[in-house]
Symmetry: C2
Subunit: 238 residues, 2 copies
């Protein structure tokens, strides 16, 4: 089975100014890996209309899936929805399905669904809503683009909703070997192993734990038997 590939667009000035540290990319990467979808590229971009539109067009064309995070709230700097609509040549309106969700959510809380909050019911035509179990305001799916919130808890909740419906690949298996040798000590022998097991993918990741240097070798592939053989070989480098 072909492994579907995915991209991610993380939208927000606050991330590129260092004010906020993103956790959504790391979370998405782990979740996709588990279900056999390949996160191929992730981009952090600023809250700028032309930039957002261009990236949505490019990434949704190049990859099976595009997941976005950020910029769908009620304030003036939340411009993602208008950009997504522009990218697909769609109109944005206050949709009755989204309106009902927000109305119910705020009525239950005894909070007024004011003009600002109502902005969160602005959804591009033809998009399918993604449930937000945390704070009401839905995300949405338009073609192969999954538009989700930037707040980590809400992003995670939305991802949980959509994951079961995605086309998945056969999960990539991985085996990790921790060696207490520097990369430079094992690189040449490792290269021979890499050549011998050309159907597998080998990553070499140096680490430094409390002053002790070493290397983690990660073997990735689909063929478990072959990977066990490769792991045995890698262990001889210790």
């Amino acid at each position: 089975m072909e492994q579907p590939n995915a991209s991610m667009l993380i939208i927000g000035d606050e991330l590129l100014s260092g004010r906020t540290q993103d956790t959504n990319m790391y979370y998405l990467a782990n979740e996709l890996t588990e279900v056999g979808i390949n996160l191929s590229e992730a981009r952090f971009i600023r809250d700028d209309t032309a930039t957002i539109v261009a990236n949505i067009v490019e990434l949704s064309t190049r990859f099976d899936y595009l997941f976005t995070s950020g910029g769908i709230g009620p304030t003036h700097d939340d411009i993602t929805t208008d950009c997504v609509a522009q990218a697909f040549g769609k109109q944005v309106t206050i949709r009755s399905d989204a309106f009902k969700i927000l109305k119910k959510y705020y009525d239950e809380k005894g909070i007024e669904l004011n003009e600002a909050r109502l902005r969160m019911a602005r959804i591009p035509e033809t998009a399918d809503l993604i449930e937000n179990s945390i704070s009401g305001a839905p995300g949405y799916i338009i073609e192969n683009v999954y538009v989700m919130a930037g707040v980590p808890k809400i992003f995670q909740s939305m991802l949980k909703t959509i994951l079961p419906k995605l086309k998945k690949g056969s999960p990539t298996l991985s085996r990790s070997v921790k060696l207490h040798k520097g990369e430079g000590d094992i690189a040449l022998e490792l290269e021979q192993i890499v050549r011998e097991f050309s159907k597998l993918n080998f990553g070499s990741y140096p680490f430094n734990e409390k002053g002790v240097h070493g290397t983690n070798i990660v073997i990735r592939g689909k063929d478990n038997k072959l990977m066990i053989k490769a792991e045995e070989k890698v262990r001889t480098l210790a």
Copy 2:
């Protein structure tokens, strides 16, 4: 003074598989913000030659600076240097200046400068070396591209070396106001303030601390007096 802009390319399968969480982007973002350089875009890409080359060409053309992180070690999956050279049509050779640095470093440690470690002296012609005070192997600068290690300690040490030499902008000032109101409660009044202070940039960032919702409003700009006035207005939203 025009604010220089910058981009970042973070190279490595381990980041996109969720195996490793990046810290270099967050670190760079903070350091650049402090010296008045605008980090405009950051991309995480896989260890794939065509992808790396295309991104180096694109980002180094579009931005004043491109900083890269990852893929310059001694192992088979460290392909960044060959990609950088290809992007600029340069040859890669074992350079005597880089060789001397490595030789001295490993001699002092009593470690053999073997064939694998020698790979780290492979530097594109015409590039200027960046000192690595942690583990010897240098990074380098070629045109407006700054090629640095992926290991956070080494990345940070290299950045410290190059920062004083970069063309800087006037630092963007920022003032932050913490409001214990949801974004939806303040969005409309905030929008009026945003219109009134059109020379300033306003970001609205919802937070949830131990179940308490609120919004951080961040005002960014160059004109401190104007920002003080804007902050006063924002505080009236409390």
